[in-house]
């Protein structure tokens, strides 16, 4: 266990091996149209649908402009969270589908290096999606995300960290239970959506669900985002809560991943995954 993904492996992480993982996924994106669909097509469809909806609401003065801005901001940030979590798990599934795991893990590449490379690729892809959505929102719906960006970046980072944590958990489950868990790659973010208060404030939830919502870093990110967009003020309390929860979940996710990975090695699943 120590040798594959433990502290010793982390000490020996080599940039060229991380670069090899980035290269492998870059080639995959260049050859596989599915990635373009995930990266660009769905974000465009998403922002167009929600954009038209906000235009409709804006026409009759049905809602305050700040609420409309919050709605578009939420669409963009949820898209980012969803893409990050999904691409992390799908990136790993690509290895599994192509039966490349044996070659990769029979090489000096460590799990830590592999996951680091995958995070960099996923972050790049999510940023492309975010930029496309932000540009469309700015060009067609006069919603400019960029002036608010400094106040939003801490919440975006918290969302990215939680998405990464979820990606690590799902990848661990796939290592241990193979493709039986692959549907989680696309659906897990959806499970969290109702409790994450993406489009409505925490007070809109029934009181018995609020404690559950409060322990999700996503809830604090979206609450913080709404405050930033509506009043232009950075909510340090939501940021700190989100970050604190994230750190706890991240530690648990890493421990869980190691446990799943070693269980997979012990059962000989690493060489049988398809």
């Amino acid at each position: 266990m120590r040798s594959f993904c433990g502290s010793q492996a982390a000490d020996q992480m080599k940039p060229y091996r991380i670069k090899a993982v980035i290269r492998r996924h870059f080639y995959e994106v260049m050859h596989n149209a599915n990635h373009i669909t995930y990266m660009v097509y769905w974000p465009i469809v998403n922002i167009l649908v929600w954009g038209f909806f906000t235009l409709y609401l804006r026409k009759g003065d049905r809602l305050e402009p700040s609420v409309l801005s919050c709605l578009l901001g939420a669409v963009i940030l949820w898209g980012l969270f969803n893409a990050f979590q999904r691409d992390m798990a799908v990136g790993f599934l690509e290895e599994l589908w192509s039966r490349n795991l044996v070659s990769l893990f029979a090489s000096p590449l460590s799990v830590s290096e592999y996951v680091t490379g995958l995070i960099i690729v996923t972050f790049g892809k999510a940023m492309i999606g975010l930029s496309v959505e932000a540009l469309i929102a700015w060009a067609f719906y006069h919603y400019n995300l960029f002036p608010q960006l400094p106040a939003l970046i801490p919440f975006i980072l918290n969302l990215a960290l939680f998405a990464l944590t979820m990606g690590i958990v799902i990848t661990g489950l796939i290592f241990r239970y193979t493709t039986r868990f692959q549907a989680m790659a696309w659906s897990f973010a959806g499970v969290l959506m109702p409790l994450s208060c993406v489009f409505y404030p925490l007070v809109a939830l029934p009181s018995f669900l609020r404690p559950l919502a409060r322990i999700l870093p996503t809830t604090h990110s979206f609450e913080g985002m709404r405050e930033a967009i509506a009043s232009g003020v950075f909510s340090s309390i939501h940021f700190k809560w989100g970050l604190g929860l994230n750190l706890v979940y991240f530690v648990f996710a890493v421990v869980f991943f190691r446990w799943m990975f070693e269980a997979s090695r012990a059962r000989g699943l690493l060489v049988k995954m398809e």
Binding site: R24, E28, F105, S107
Partner: protein, 251 residues
Amino acid sequence: MLVRVEGLTKTYGKFTAVDDVSFVVKRGEIAGLVGPNGAGKTTIIHILLGLISPTAGLINLFGKDLESDRTATLQRLNFTSPYMAFPVRLTVMENLLVFAEIYNVAEPERKIDELLERFDIARLKNKPVSKLSSGETTRVGLCKAFLNDPELLLLDEPTAYLDHQAALQVREVLIDLKKRNGTTILYTSHNMLEVQRMCDRIIFLSRGRVIASGTPLEVTRSVLRENRDKPALDEVFLRLASRRPDEAVSN
């Protein structure tokens, strides 16, 4: 000793895939790990690569414990099997460039071109792996296995999908490599004639246990209990494959 395996055991619940296996492979020799299906050959190779954790036993490669020095150990060896695959959308060159980077190969493109020439697949360089036949993919796997000029090469049935001509060519390359670089090779195969021609020493497994080991001639004499002057591993295979695992005849 380049490879030292002591008391290696792997169990899955009540099933024992590898049962108290011990053997050594000396530097510069070609050792054959042979036996019928389910003998535990591939499991042993996967344990040597750290892909499966053993239930018990010691694995020492290059004088170091694999579990405590995995990265440095795997940098010095390589592996291929016709049963592994590559990302199919990537071209042959792209796949090999990824692995060249993992192994930190100097001048990767030159090295890859040289290997593609050696295995007679230079024409496939820019083809996606999805367009290759099984035999062609096997040869790409062999190119991958040679990228880092390994000191130890683990080959799991490397000629299984190759036609006679290609298999002959691969055997020549392996023997040449051993002569020129002193590469140590641990080789699994069902093809007894191939093992006989290639291997300096064989370790015969059945149902997870070593039941004979030695040079092909030693194993032939010991198992057949006749004073032969030439190895006859085909006969040995038939004899040992039907034998109970407790009837060991180890040298």
